[in-house]
């Protein structure tokens, strides 16, 4: 079986020759065909991040329309029906199409570079996941533009979203959008886990894995255990709506709270798989700008696991006002407060590292400071609403809206923006402008706090969330105007980022391989990295290998006449196999189209699932069937 043909290895080739051969083998076909068939994790990761940022923009615009409407009392700009669609689109887009995908797929780009390999474990599955995500997001927004946008809130509670009250196709669109994004999210999670387990550079033992990669790993595990819950709940919802099942119909033995339990068993961990990767970004930025090894590496890793574990024991705190037993509620109060412990430990480790370091105040570090400040405020209001009496008082008010925006925007978007400034040079080979970056940071900081801090007060004044207008006598007008102004300032900060990106792509300062003098392996290759990432697989010599051995030692002996990757052992990162890696292929796109058409058609007839099996099955067979290329030699 193991045919001994003449093959070419990377051991004795001159650098120019090696580069030419690897570029030929790992490069994409030219033109549009190459664009459609690529399985390069960098191309797909970039595409994912850019698409997610476009959805961020759409979600942000829907928020701006809401803020314009709420700026003054009894405003006539937007009616109640459109307003319901707007807040549902805003929440669904931000959670399912922006935050989770962008956090997961920063890893799609960065993890293979950080662990010193050439691609991800399942490059075609990765490509497939992107197309499914794109089609699902496009479906949601096209539906919105033809007045079929979901309107029952981003968690789509029954009975409001059920067959009795959720008329038309709006809630079906929501439920199927969940299927698309969860299929894609789960595919990426499995791909990431296997990549991190089995493809780390030789010498990268468990205690040398970069913290960003640990965060990606913990997040992927959380996704594997949490996303099936929302798939179960949204499938039950759509079955209730389309084929007359009674999962949530009280009159026939169903239960509406079953929906809430299933949704929040996913929904609470979801907050953490947005937040945990963000902590990974912070843990990558701080050592680079403090010129200091991270203090408390082991504590940080254990905190990630602790947060990930506890996140599954908190979901009922979203349901405190549903009349559950008191004892149960007390348990969930305790566990909600307990999650502050691992988060607090992380913050102390970051502060200790900064304290000891020689700080370089570049834009990424500014965003980290912004993150710490805003996130701590969100954490404090979190401890408040973890207690049942306070939660009962402020439930469904703007206080809660303020709280979760501090946690999600403060806790995840600020680190993400820092991460964009930090890794943009790696992605595109040019630095973002530092002066614009500072402006970007301060505008974001002022705009964000101006938008969301007054919401605490509005909530305490009794303003409920999800109302399209209010009467002047309530006295909420001036504060709402302030919030609206803040929202526009905050939006302007993103426009400034877009301008900075556009300008820097054209004539930004060239970055070189390692512009920040950081210590992890993604900085050991050129910026942007070549298609094959590393000319030779690097050997990892420590937690910050580039600081320990600037002249990175390498491993050699891989073939350069076909795509070959190194598979290593799980714990010690010892070389084990030279494995074939897939070439570009159109089949992931074909399979994604077949899957998407089937899912979309099933909204209109359940038989679509039956006849859709044929094209999906045919596409998957086409995908897996060997083509007799070099890829199949092994």
């Amino acid at each position: 079986v193991n045919s001994k043909k003449q093959d070419v290895r990377d051991t004795d080739l001159a650098p120019a020759d090696l580069d030419a051969r690897l570029s030929h083998v790992w490069g994409d076909p030219p033109g549009i065909w190459g664009w459609l068939t690529t399985v390069d994790h960098k191309a797909i990761g970039r595409r994912y991040v850019v698409t997610a940022l476009i959805f961020l923009c759409l979600g942000g615009l829907s928020a701006l329309v809401m803020r314009l409407q709420l700026g003054t009392p009894e405003n006539k700009l937007v009616g109640p029906d459109l307003y319901n669609q707007l807040f549902t689109m805003h929440g669904s887009t931000m959670m399912f199409l922006f935050a989770v995908p962008v956090m997961e797929t920063m890893g799609v780009y960065l993890v293979p570079l950080m662990i010193g390999t050439r691609t991800v474990a399942f490059p075609r599955l990765n490509a497939f996941s992107y197309w499914v995500y794109l089609f699902g997001g496009a479906m949601l927004w096209i539906a919105f533009f033809v007045n079929t946008g979901p309107d029952a809130g981003w968690f789509s509670y029954v009975p409001l979203a059920g067959p009795q009250y959720g008329i038309g196709k709006r809630s079906d669109i929501w439920a199927q959008m969940i299927t698309y994004t969860e299929v894609s999210g789960l595919a990426v999670a499995v791909t990431s886990i296997v990549t991190i387990f089995k493809m780390r550079a030789p010498g990268m033992t468990l205690d040398r894995i970069p913290l960003f990669v640990w965060a990606a790993l913990v997040t992927s595990f959380m996704i594997v255990f949490a996303m099936p819950a929302v798939m179960v709940s949204s499938t039950m919802l759509i079955l209730d709506r389309l084929v007359g099942t009674h999962f949530f119909n009280w009159a026939e033995g169903g239960d509406v709270l079953l929906y809430q339990h299933l949704f929040w068993f996913f929904g609470h961990p979801e907050v953490y798989f947005i937040f945990i990767p963000a902590t990974g970004i912070v843990s990558a930025i701080i050592p680079a700008f403090a010129r200091q090894k991270m203090f408390g590496y082991t504590v940080l890793v254990l905190s990630l696991f602790g947060t990930g574990f506890l996140a599954f024991g908190l979901w009922v705190h979203h349901m405190f006002v549903t009349g559950l037993p008191r004892l149960g509620e007390s348990f969930f109060t305790a566990s909600s407060m307990a999650v502050a412990i691992p988060s607090g430990l992380q913050i102390f480790c970051w502060i200790a590292t900064l304290w000891d370091g020689k700080l370089k105040f570049n834009t990424p570090l500014l965003f980290v400071f912004g993150f710490i400040l805003n996130f701590v405020i969100g954490g404090l209001s979190g401890v408040m609403v973890a207690s049942v009496p306070i939660d009962t008082q402020v439930h469904d008010t703007y206080f809660v809206v303020a709280h979760f925006h501090y946690v999600l925007v403060g806790g995840a978007v600020f680190p993400l923006l820092g991460g964009i400034y930090y890794w943009f040079p790696k992605f595109y080979g040019r630095m973002l402008n530092e002066r614009l970056g500072r402006w970007n940071f301060w505008l974001a900081m002022v705009g964000f706090n101006l938008t969301f801090f007054p919401m605490h007060i509005l909530g305490l004044m009794g303003m409920p969330r999800r109302v399209y207008t209010y009467q002047p006598e309530m006295g909420w007008g001036p504060m709402n105007m302030l919030v609206t102004i803040g929202a526009f300032v905050f939006f302007a900060s993103f426009l400034l980022l877009a301008f900075n990106v556009w300008r820097s792509l054209r004539d930004g300062q060239l970055a070189g391989g390692n512009p920040w003098n950081a210590g992890t392996l993604e900085w050991a290759t050129s910026s942007p990295p070549p298609a094959y990432n590393f000319a030779h697989i690097p050997v990892c010599t420590g937690r910050e290998p580039l600081w320990q051995t600037p002249d990175t030692p390498v491993a050699a002996g891989l073939r350069v006449d076909k795509r070959e990757v190194l598979v290593t052992t799980l714990v010690d990162g010892e070389p084990d196999l030279r494995d074939s890696s897939p070439e570009p292929s159109i089949w992931p796109l074909v399979a994604a189209v077949a899957t998407s058409v089937t899912l979309l058609a099933s909204i209109f007839t359940p038989w679509a699932i039956v006849w859709g099996l044929l094209p999906v099955g045919a596409a998957l067979t086409g995908w897996f069937w060997p083509k007799g290329t070099k890829e199949d030699e092994s």
Binding site: A121, F225, P228, M236, G253, P575, D632
Partner: protein, 199 residues
């Protein structure tokens, strides 16, 4: 360039935990297993709320489900052997084993057809009907997926493409997934047919 490690003589494929696909398969088992646990949890949740169980329906007829269970269990020894033959890269036996496993996969699917009416309730009768059909449907999709996969793999192993270490590794991973399909059925079988009788 300082070459510190030599990778020249590494193997190009491996079985079990050495192979990436094995880990990927395990990952999908874990997430699908979570789906099963949550679906079963929903069944138990609705059961504890109901005044009686089954809800306005006769006890399910356990015979078709029991035949499926026996057929699935009967396939396990051969599945273990097939895995072993794949690891030895014994092509004639692998081909024979795959053909037999295809038959042993289709047989429970045929009986499964009679299992749905044997539940004695429709999916749209009440919540009990909905959740029993959901559980059975969820398992059926797994059964169907693995049988389809086995059919394609069997066809593949009869072509020249079969003579490849990676393809033998695929056969081994497919056998691994079949174990999951069989094992995940046992608790569902108990919940669907015996729990209402004990409850």
């Amino acid at each position: 360039v300082k070459i510190q490690r030599d990778l020249t003589d590494l193997q190009t494929f491996g079985f079990g935990p050495r192979s990436l696909t094995w880990w990927g398969t395990l990952g999908f088992m874990v997430l699908e297993g979570t789906g099963f646990v949550l679906a079963a949890g929903s069944y138990l949740y609705l059961m504890t709320l109901a005044p009686k169980w089954p809800l306005n329906a006769a006890q399910p007829d356990y015979w078709p489900g029991t035949v499926v269970t026996l057929l699935l269990l009967a396939s396990v020894p051969l599945n273990i052997l097939l895995n072993r033959w794949a690891r030895r890269q014994d092509m004639p036996k692998v081909r024979l084993g795959l053909l037999a496993m295809t038959v042993l996969g289709i047989a429970p699917l045929v009986v499964r057809w009679f299992e749905f009416p044997a539940l004695q309730v429709h999916w749209d009768s009440n919540a009990y009907g909905s959740v029993t059909w959901f559980l059975l449907g969820l398992h059926t999709t797994h059964l169907l997926t693995d049988v389809a996969d086995t059919v394609v793999l069997t066809a593949l192993m009869f072509t020249r493409h079969g003579y490849s270490g990676k393809r033998f590794s695929d056969v081994s991973d497919n056998a691994f997934y079949w174990d999951f399909v069989v094992l995940s059925w046992l608790p569902i079988y108990f919940i669907l047919y015996w729990l209402p009788r004990f409850a």
